[in-house]
């Protein structure tokens, strides 16, 4: 009882400080998504000379015209290859990014579409630019339905399978990145609101003034964890508004925003508690800032913030299991890219994050010393 009311008193204090510095908090939260999202959307627009192998089995005037149309713009660098398997080997080796196979039925629509396109899942920004261009070229000479594309998986690497939805390759990379940025902002916000404020309060002597009051010591930590959770709602709102303004979409709509909030709040509690564990062991601000930079960014990368986990080497894929952010981002991807969030995934993501949150908070309370010696 007293623990809860003490925690609320200290939560209010954190929120008053947050509100007092609202302007810098908004700027700090907004600047990262702005820079990342704008930067990457410009990257996508600058795609040129993408290496493409064309296997022309049709060998008729129309198919020749189609090949010419591929190379008419700077977008693609076309290599003619006589054999499909040879072309796919090149794709698997990474020499080229696309294989276009024109079947003998072209330009008429046979039992299967006459233009088959294979791509690797590494170059998101090129995929989303090149695929529509090929489809448009096909549509001009035949019909739009005469085109089919699929991701190519080299047989030597069965681990990278299509059944994990977190590839981003079937969506657009900006939306993929958008969901990653939501996670990053939550983590940054949690680390800097909880851990950093604990260190500054320790250095400024404020912690001492709390310790001499008859409160339950755990309230000093719980108040911060609460405020971090509430502040994450604010950060999520800012990132979503910026993302939508920049043309990103959330496939699942309003229900998706609800799930983003649920996962985001849990993630924020985990990261806030982790930063409090570190902050209660450190005595200076510089050391904590080094922690913030060396931990937050790798956690983001490992969780698949900018590249899908499925494209990682197996070691990193294994490490990502222990990164709470992985579970939050997995949910964000379903919500933002797929538009459906299967129940099984909801159960896994929410329960793993909740366990992480409880365990890290408990450890942070254990690690916090209530004496100053």
């Amino acid at each position: 009882m007293s623990l809860l009311s003490d925690s609320i008193s200290l939560y209010k204090r954190e929120m008053l400080i947050f509100r007092a510095n609202i302007r810098s908090n908004v700027v700090r939260t907004a600047i990262f998504p702005f820079v990342i999202l704008i930067f990457f959307s410009f990257l996508g627009a600058a795609v040129t000379n993408v290496p493409v192998a064309v296997v022309n089995y049709a060998n008729n005037p129309q198919s020749a015209q189609l090949v010419d149309s591929f190379s008419s713009q700077n977008l693609m660098q076309v290599y003619s290859v006589t054999d499909e398997s040879q072309a796919l080997a090149m794709l698997g080796a990474g020499n080229i990014d696309f294989v276009i196979v024109i079947l003998p039925t072209f330009p008429s629509l046979g039992p299967v579409p006459a233009v088959q396109v294979y791509y690797n899942n590494v170059q998101f920004s090129t995929t989303e630019v090149v695929l529509p261009a090929i489809q448009q070229d096909v549509a001009e000479l035949s019909s739009k339905n005469n085109f089919q594309s699929q991701q190519y998986l080299p047989p030597s690497n069965p681990a990278a399978s299509l059944d994990t939805p977190v590839t981003g390759a079937n969506g657009d990379y900006e939306d993929f990145l958008f969901s990653g940025v939501i996670g990053m902002i939550i983590v940054f916000g949690a680390i800097f609101s909880s851990g950093l404020s604990l260190i500054t309060d320790k250095l400024g002597g404020n912690i001492k003034t709390f310790l001499i009051t008859p409160i339950n010591k755990s309230a000093i930590l719980l108040g911060r964890v609460f405020s971090s959770a509430v502040q994450s709602i604010f950060s999520i709102a800012i990132v979503i508004v910026i993302g939508l303004l920049l043309g990103n979409t959330i496939a699942m709509g309003a229900e998706g925003i609800f799930w983003i909030l649920v996962l985001g709040i849990l993630l924020s509690v985990c990261m806030s508690a982790i930063s409090l564990i570190v902050a209660s062991r450190l005595k200076n601000l510089q050391a904590f800032q080094i922690f913030g930079q060396t931990i937050a960014l790798p956690l983001w990368f490992i969780s698949g913030g900018i590249f899908p986990v499925s494209s990682f080497p197996p070691v990193l894929q294994a490490v990502s299991i222990f990164d709470p952010m992985t579970y939050a981002l997995n949910g964000f991807r379903f919500v933002v890219l797929e538009g459906v969030y299967p129940l099984a995934s909801i159960v896994t993501d929410v329960s793993v994050l909740a366990i992480f949150a409880i365990v890290t908070t408990a450890i942070s309370i254990r690690m916090f010393k209530s004496t100053i010696d």
Partner: protein
């Protein structure tokens, strides 16, 4: 230790019959502390500062409003109640810190160097407040580097050097440690201090202490007449005397006599045998 910020290495502390380590919640409500560095919540207003601590001390809702209003009045901050404490001057912050430490109406108030860094007006006002609080029944334990402050305010004084109490008593009892006679004070050019010290030693058997250009030596009771002889001797030895005098011992003299005159800058001794002064 009293406030449970440190764990005692040995022994037992009781406040008002309550064991500090066992009943720390009750004890903490009896105690108030104002730390040396003024700590206010800079991003909170004066009122919010007081509200926060009223909550943390579990003051009941009906008491809270009243206590906050009183505290703002005591600190003369009514006009600035809704201004952020971070924008206050040092003196205002110190006043806010003091009433905040008093919000739970403690029986014992610990003040760690309450006037360090304050200007003369603020210091005098702070002294007035401290005296007033003491008169209204609060025991005050204060540490200070200003010995005249201790002399002015305290009923009992303890001098602690290297963690040990080396003197304890009322100001006049403590002053008697420096001797019942007078204190000789000679100010000469800095380069002459060593010579004057050795002259005092060889001619009069006085072991003095030098602090910069100032030499201090104790004249025992009954030997006051030596003062004129010393003055004449220094004149004969052609020492340029900038000032010479004799006065009753002050706490400064006691302090130097007890702790030595060397600068204390070894780690943990920055305060130079800090004086702890207790009242009542």
């Amino acid at each position: 230790m009293l406030l449970t910020l440190l764990n005692p290495t040995s022994g037992r502390i009781t406040v008002d019959g309550l064991d500090v380590t066992k009943n720390h919640e009750k004890v903490k409500k009896l105690m108030g502390l104002m730390t040396q560095e003024t700590v206010v919540e800079a991003d909170l207003t004066a009122r919010q500062n007081l509200e926060l601590f009223a909550h943390l001390y579990h003051i009941t809702a009906e008491q809270r409003e009243k206590r906050i209003k009183e505290a703002l009045g005591e600190a003369e901050l009514e006009k600035f109640a809704d201004v952020k404490a971070g924008t206050f001057s040092g003196g205002m912050q110190r006043r806010l810190g003091l009433v905040r430490a008093m919000i739970q109406e403690p029986r014992i108030l610990v003040l760690d160097e309450p006037t360090t860094g304050l200007d003369v007006q603020n210091r005098t006002t702070m002294w007035g407040r401290i005296k007033q609080m003491n008169k209204s029944g609060t025991t005050i334990l204060l540490t200070t580097q200003y010995l005249e402050e201790a002399d002015e305010l305290c009923d009992r004084i303890a001098i602690i050097d290297h963690g040990k109490v080396i003197a304890l008593g009322t100001p006049s009892e403590v002053k008697r440690i420096a001797g019942t006679g007078r204190v000789l004070e000679v100010i000469v050019k800095p380069e002459d201090t060593a010579r004057v010290l050795s002259l005092l030693k060889s001619r009069f058997g006085l072991s003095g202490a030098a602090k910069g250009d100032r030499i201090i030596a104790a004249l025992e009771k009954g030997s006051e007449s030596e003062f004129t002889k010393i003055s004449a001797m220094l004149d004969r030895e052609k020492v340029t005397v900038l000032s010479i005098g004799a006065h009753l011992p002050t706490l400064d003299d006691v302090f130097i006599k007890l702790t030595g005159s060397g600068m204390r800058d070894a780690s943990g001794e920055m305060q130079g045998g800090r004086a702890n002064m207790r009242w009542r």
